[in-house]
Amino acid sequence: MEQKNLVAAGVTKKYKNVEVLHPTDITIEPGKIYGLIGRNGAGKTTLLSLLTGQNPQTTGTVTYAGQKVWENEDALGEICFARELNAMLMFGPNSFKGKHYLEMAACYYPNWDKAYAQRLIADFELDTKKKISKLSKGMMSMLTIVLALASRAPITILDEPVAGLDVAMRDRFYRLLLDDYQKTGRTFVVSTHIIEEASSVFEEIILLDKGNLVEKLNTDEYVSQFHYISGKDDVVDQATSGLKVLHSEGLGRQKTVCVRAQKQNVLAAAAGLDVELAPVPLQKIFVYVTGGEKEENLA
C-alpha cells in the first residue's frame, strides 16, 4: 500500500513584508498522532493552514500523496482542518447554527460519518440549534471536535481543540481521540497550549518557535534528552561543566539545572558526585526551549 504523506517542502509565509513562517520542511506520515506545540504567535495556525491548502504559501510546495494540495478537491477531501471557531466572521457575527455548520461540513467530506456526529453531539450535550456566536468557548471547541472526528478524514488536524474545555472534558476528548485512532488508524495533528496532559497522547511532537520548526521527534525520545540535575551549587556546576544548560534555578546553595544531553553522558558527568538526576516534564522543556523564562526573570 502506498503511503500517503502530507509533505511541505521549503514553505514560507509572508504577510506584507513580515515572514511569519521561515523555510520549513515537514512530513506528516499516516497513522500517527502528532502534537503541535508552540507559543502564541509561533506560526502554528499559519503552518496548519498552509498544510491544508487554506492559505497560499509565499514559497515552497505542499503535497499530499505526491499531488499538490492547493485547489485539489481530491486531496482536500481527505484532509480536515478543524479551526478554532470565532463568534465573528468577516462581515459580522457568525450566525450559522451548529447543525448548519456540520451539515455544510458533511457536503465536503466524502467520509463524513453522520451517525458518529450525532453520537458525539448527544455525548457532549451540545445544542446545535444555537447560533455559533451564542456558544461559549467550550461549546465552540466541542463543535470543532465533532467536526474533526466525524469527518473521518485520513488526515485530521485540530487547532486548539481543548481551548475553553474543563479538565474533565479535555480528558474525555483525548480518550475519544485515542478511541477513534485505535479503530481507524487515522492521522491526527493536534495543536495545544495545555501540553502536560496531552504529552502521553502524542506519538511525535512538532515544536514551533518564532516561525521556525525547532523539533519534530518521537515524544519519548525528545523528553529523554532532558534531565534535571540538582544538588549543592558548586557540585552541580562541576557536574554540568561540559553540558548544555537550558535553565537553572535555586534557593541559597541548592541548585537545580536542566540540561540537554544523552542519558549516558549525563550519568557519566554525574558519576561520583552528590547530585540527583530526574526527568523533565514536557511542559517544562517547552518553557525552557522556547525561552518563556525571560518573563519570569523580569518579574
Binding site: 492559505n55 455544510m104 457536503c107 465536503y108
Partner: protein
C-alpha cells in the same frame, strides 16, 4: 462586548459603503435614461430601477456569499468550486429578477386596477423585487448551508428552465416595437450586459488567493 459593538458598526459601515457605491453607479445611468423621450421614459426608468436592484443584489449576494465562503473553504472547498457556485447564484438571481417583473404585473393590477409594469408606478416593481430578493436570499442561504454547491447546481437547472420560460413570456407580452427600441438603446443594453459580468469576475479575482480564516 465593546469588540462586538465595534464589529457591528464596522459591518454596518461596510454595508452602507457598498450601497452608496452601487447608487453612484446607478444614478448617472438613471439620469441618462430618464432624459429619453417621455413616452419611453417610464420603461427606461423601470429598466434602470431593475438594473439598480440587480446591482444592489449582486453586491449583497457577494457579501452573503463571502460569509458562506469562509466555512466552505475551511471544509476543503476549492476556490474554483466556490466560483462555480457563485455563477450558479447569478443565474438564479437573473431568473428571479425576470420572474419578479412578471409577478409585478398582477400585483400592480390588484393595487392600481391597471397594468403598471410598462407605464405606471415603479413601486410595485420595487416591492416585488425586494420581496423576491428576501426569499431568494433566505433560500440560497439555507440551500448552500444545507446541501452545499452540488444541490445548488441542481437548483440552478430548475431555475434555468424558469428563466427561459420567463424570457419567452416577456417576449410574448412586450410589443415588438418596444422590444426593438429597448434593444436599440445602447445604454440599456450595455448596462444589462455589464450587470451580467462584474461581481463574479471581481469576486474571482479576489477569491483566487483569499485565505480561509477562523
Amino acid at each position: 462586548m465593546m469588540r462586538s459593538f465595534r464589529n457591528q458598526i464596522r459591518y454596518i459601515l461596510q454595508y452602507i459603503g457598498i450601497m452608496v457605491l452601487a447608487m453612484l453607479v446607478a444614478i448617472p445611468y438613471m439620469t441618462i435614461v430618464l432624459h429619453e423621450d417621455t413616452e419611453f421614459s417610464m420603461l427606461s426608468y423601470q429598466a434602470a430601477t431593475y438594473f439598480m436592484l440587480l446591482l444592489f443584489s449582486f453586491l449583497f449576494i457577494c457579501i452573503f456569499n463571502s460569509s458562506n465562503l469562509m466555512p466552505a473553504l475551511q471544509f476543503g472547498a476549492t476556490r474554483k468550486g466556490w466560483f462555480r457556485a457563485m455563477l450558479v447564484n447569478k443565474i438564479l438571481f437573473a431568473a428571479g429578477g425576470i420572474a419578479a417583473i412578471l409577478l409585478a404585473t398582477p400585483v400592480a393590477q390588484i393595487f392600481y386596477g391597471q397594468p403598471v409594469v410598462f407605464g405606471g408606478s415603479v413601486f410595485p416593481l420595487f416591492a416585488a423585487s425586494a420581496l423576491f430578493m428576501a426569499s431568494y436570499g433566505a433560500m440560497l442561504g439555507y440551500a448552500s448551508a444545507r446541501y452545499g454547491a452540488k444541490w445548488l447546481a441542481i437548483g440552478t437547472a430548475v431555475f434555468f428552465i424558469v428563466l427561459i420560460g420567463a424570457t419567452v413570456l416577456l417576449l410574448v407580452f412586450l410589443p415588438t416595437e418596444r422590444l426593438a427600441t429597448l434593444a436599440s438603446n445602447p445604454w440599456l443594453v450595455a448596462g444589462l450586459l455589464i450587470a451580467c459580468i462584474p461581481p463574479e469576475f471581481i469576486g474571482w479575482l479576489v477569491l483566487r488567493k483569499i485565505p480561509a480564516k477562523g
